[in-house]
């Protein structure tokens, strides 16, 4: 295992860890706002780390830049969707944003 | 010339359907004519080709199989093309009254109608297992869309049931195709045989494909979807469903059985298929006997009549092939005629419950006439195409001393007579209250003429059989050719 591979592995594992934490948060936190909190922050960081890990692994600037773009897009999407969900949750005044039939 | 004509036969209706999506409604009438009327003339060219030189291959895009897709025009596919073109044209005459181009629903109906037409043409030509899958899906989706086009709850439910079963059937077929490709790496159904040993794996794969097709062709006991679908669809749609759509799946089974697996020893399976056919005949007829609605009776009659097509498998001879093909032709015309007549009756009376049809023959003599005439052929009574088909079946059975099939075919006409005469008797019964003639809702005479033409066609088929039978005899599968 070369150094770069080791680095990549480290980054990927860390990213997965953040994803895992975010997912646990999504499942365990009590209301919509907290869940968003877990989703956006932890997952975006996880995505960032995984992209970075993959970029190191690929050792190719073109791929690395595409991966960077992916991260940016992920950020953008997460931002807007979190914003919309939060607005909805606030307007509804409810802490449960699940669809009507769920649980 | 033949290549060009065949390509146009498939693509003209397809392109016209696409045109209907783009062009404004005022063009609809013209487009319908463009999409349908030239077809019989185009078909003359391939006909001459087949008559002169026998089978004809169209290598699409110039890439022969196994690389590309091939169309095979042989006598049997030519027969199917003629049947499709002829029946669709006559039913379209009727449809131009039930879905007049000036009305709103016409924009929904006609594109699907033409796609259905084109796809069946493509299907009967196709010699490629996967291409057949795609075309079958096209046929199915267009047909189901047409069933539901009027949005009646019963039709919607029937369409949904049909759709689910058809999708499942397609999957079974596709599974078989996948396995066969995995074994041979070939998809051309006339080439597969060269690369395939009849091992358990391939036989099972073929069986899966055939079961899928049996579902699509509603062979007992896989018929459950058919009566509701055919019984609740709009008249012209019922007509084409019973006359063509279920038949093309049977046609594919024939192809797989006699061409792809022509050399294999499938005797016990053939007997099974025959028994299914026999059960279909009995079950469909008995079920038709207890129905209370005219269209349901006709639909169950289709279940029964499809059974005859299964008898080809155990009998498997030149005569049987001619018989089954002739049955295809005569039943196609007769059943289309019946559904069209029933549609006119339904439209005029507002119901097709038998209890409300007493004395209807006085009010709608043309439609009752068409119904009765077509019934003669369905019952297999002479002189009619149905009789001739039955005769050929009997001869085929006698030739092989298959007495069981012989008695079945001979006696099964009685069952058909039982349910059809029940209908006719009701129509001749004196009405308890006087029927009020509602001129406004009456179907125009030309709509009845379409039904009568088809019914007369079924009768005339009892006399002018030689061209069809010669054609079929010229296109026998390799194993059966004398």
């Amino acid at each position: 295992m070369t150094a770069s591979e080791g680095l990549a592995l480290l980054l990927l594992l860390a990213g997965s860890g953040f994803y895992f934490a975010g997912t646990v948060g999504l499942l365990r936190f009590p209301d919509a706002f907290c869940r968003l909190h877990a989703l956006t922050k932890a997952d975006n960081l996880g995505l960032c780390l995984i992209c970075a890990g993959l970029a190191v692994l690929s050792a190719d600037w073109r791929i690395a830049s595409v991966l960077f773009l992916i991260w940016l897009l992920g950020l953008l999407a997460a931002t807007v969707s979190a914003h919309l969900i939060a607005r909805q949750a606030r307007q509804a005044g409810a802490d449960n944003i699940d669809p009507p039939e769920a649980s | 010339m033949t290549t060009e004509a065949l390509a146009l036969i498939v693509f003209v209706p397809l392109l016209v359907a696409a045109g209907m999506v783009v062009l404004p409604r005022s063009w609809l009438g013209l487009l319908i004519r463009i999409g349908l009327l030239p077809l019989p003339f185009l078909l003359l060219i391939p006909t001459m080709e087949v008559v002169d030189n026998g089978a004809y291959r169209v290598v699409l895009a110039g890439h022969d199989s196994p690389l590309g897709i091939v169309w095979l025009l042989d006598p049997l596919s030519l027969l199917m093309l003629w049947l499709n073109v002829g029946i669709t044209l006559l039913v379209s005459l009727h449809a131009s009254f039930s879905f007049p181009p000036s009305d709103q629903p016409a924009r929904r109906f006609w594109p699907l109608w033409l796609i259905l037409f084109a796809s069946m043409n493509a299907l009967v030509l196709s010699a490629d297992l996967f291409n057949i899958y795609v075309t079958l899906e096209l046929v199915t989706l267009a047909a189901i869309g047409l069933i539901a086009v009027e949005g009646k709850p019963a039709a919607l439910r029937a369409a949904m049931r049909y759709l689910l079963l058809a999708l499942m059937a397609s999957l079974l077929y596709l599974l078989g195709v996948g396995l066969i490709y995995g074994q041979t790496g070939v998809l051309d159904l006339y080439l597969i045989a060269e690369h395939l040993e009849p091992a358990w794996l391939t036989i099972t794969a073929l069986a899966l494909m055939i079961v899928g097709l049996l579902i699509k062709s509603a062979i007992f006991p896989l018929h459950a979807w058919l009566p509701a679908a055919h019984g609740n669809a709009p008249g012209p749609v019922s007509a084409i469903l019973s006359a063509m759509v279920v038949k093309v799946s049977v046609y594919i089974i024939w192809r797989l059985w006699f061409w792809t697996a022509g050399d294999w020893d499938l005797d016990s399976a053939a007997t099974l298929m025959g028994i299914l056919g026999g059960l279909a005949i009995v079950y469909g007829s008995v079920a038709a006997l207890v129905q209370q609605r005219l269209k349901m009776i006709i639909a169950y009659s289709t279940v029964a009549q499809l059974g005859y097509l299964m008898l080809l498998f155990p009998l498997a001879s030149t005569l049987a092939f001619q018989a089954a093909s002739y049955h295809l032709v005569s039943h196609g015309m007769a059943k289309a005629a019946m559904f069209l007549a029933a549609a006119n009756i339904l439209r005029s009376v507002g119901s097709d419950r038998l209890s409300r049809l007493a004395g209807i023959d006085q009010r709608l003599p043309l439609d009752v006439f068409a119904l009765a005439l077509a019934g003669v052929s369905i019952m297999g009574l002479p002189p009619s195409g149905g009789f001739l088909a039955k005769w050929l079946f009997l001869e085929a059975a006698r030739e092989q001393e298959a007495w069981g099939w012989l008695v079945l075919v001979a006696a099964s006409g009685l069952l058909a007579a039982a349910y059809l005469f029940r209908v006719l008797a009701v129509m001749c019964l004196h009405p308890r209250r006087r029927l009020r003639s509602d001129r406004r809702r009456r179907a125009p005479n030309l709509a009845s003429v379409a039904a009568i033409l088809l019914a007369v066609g079924a009768i005339v088929a009892g006399f002018a059989s030689a061209p069809v039978l010669d054609l079929v005899a010229a296109g026998l599968p390799p194993g059966l050719a004398p």
Binding site: - | L163, G182, D352
Partner: protein, 105 residues
């Protein structure tokens, strides 16, 4: 591809799950799920059983499956539209009762 047999088994299980779902589900959307799962199983199978050519996967089944995926989504789209309409007309998204009102005329 040494993992073909593995995926074939996966396809078999998925197919079984699909069949199970198709039988036990009453709701039409669930039936569509099940049919789609069965379809996916068959797609996997088609690609997996085709032998590789010089170590590379055979492109033909992939192309066929690509076509199959588009057909599946088309059929699903239509089925969903049909289901919505059926629900609007009958208040049911099942096929359970065929003798309900509206089966006549």
């Amino acid at each position: 591809m040494d993992n073909a047999a593995l995926y074939v088994l996966a396809a078999a299980v998925l197919f079984g799950v699909g069949v199970y779902g198709l039988i036990v589900s009453a709701h039409l959307m669930r039936k569509l799920f099940a049919i789609n799962i069965m379809g996916n199983a068959i797609f996997i199978l088609m690609v997996a059983v085709a032998g590789p050519i010089d170590g590379a996967p055979d492109p033909v089944p992939q192309a066929l499956v690509l076509t199959g995926i588009v057909i599946a989504v088309s059929a699903t789209a239509f089925a969903l539209a049909l289901m919505v309409r059926l629900y609007q007309e009958t208040g049911r998204a099942t096929l359970a009762d065929d003798n309900g009102p509206g089966n006549d005329d």
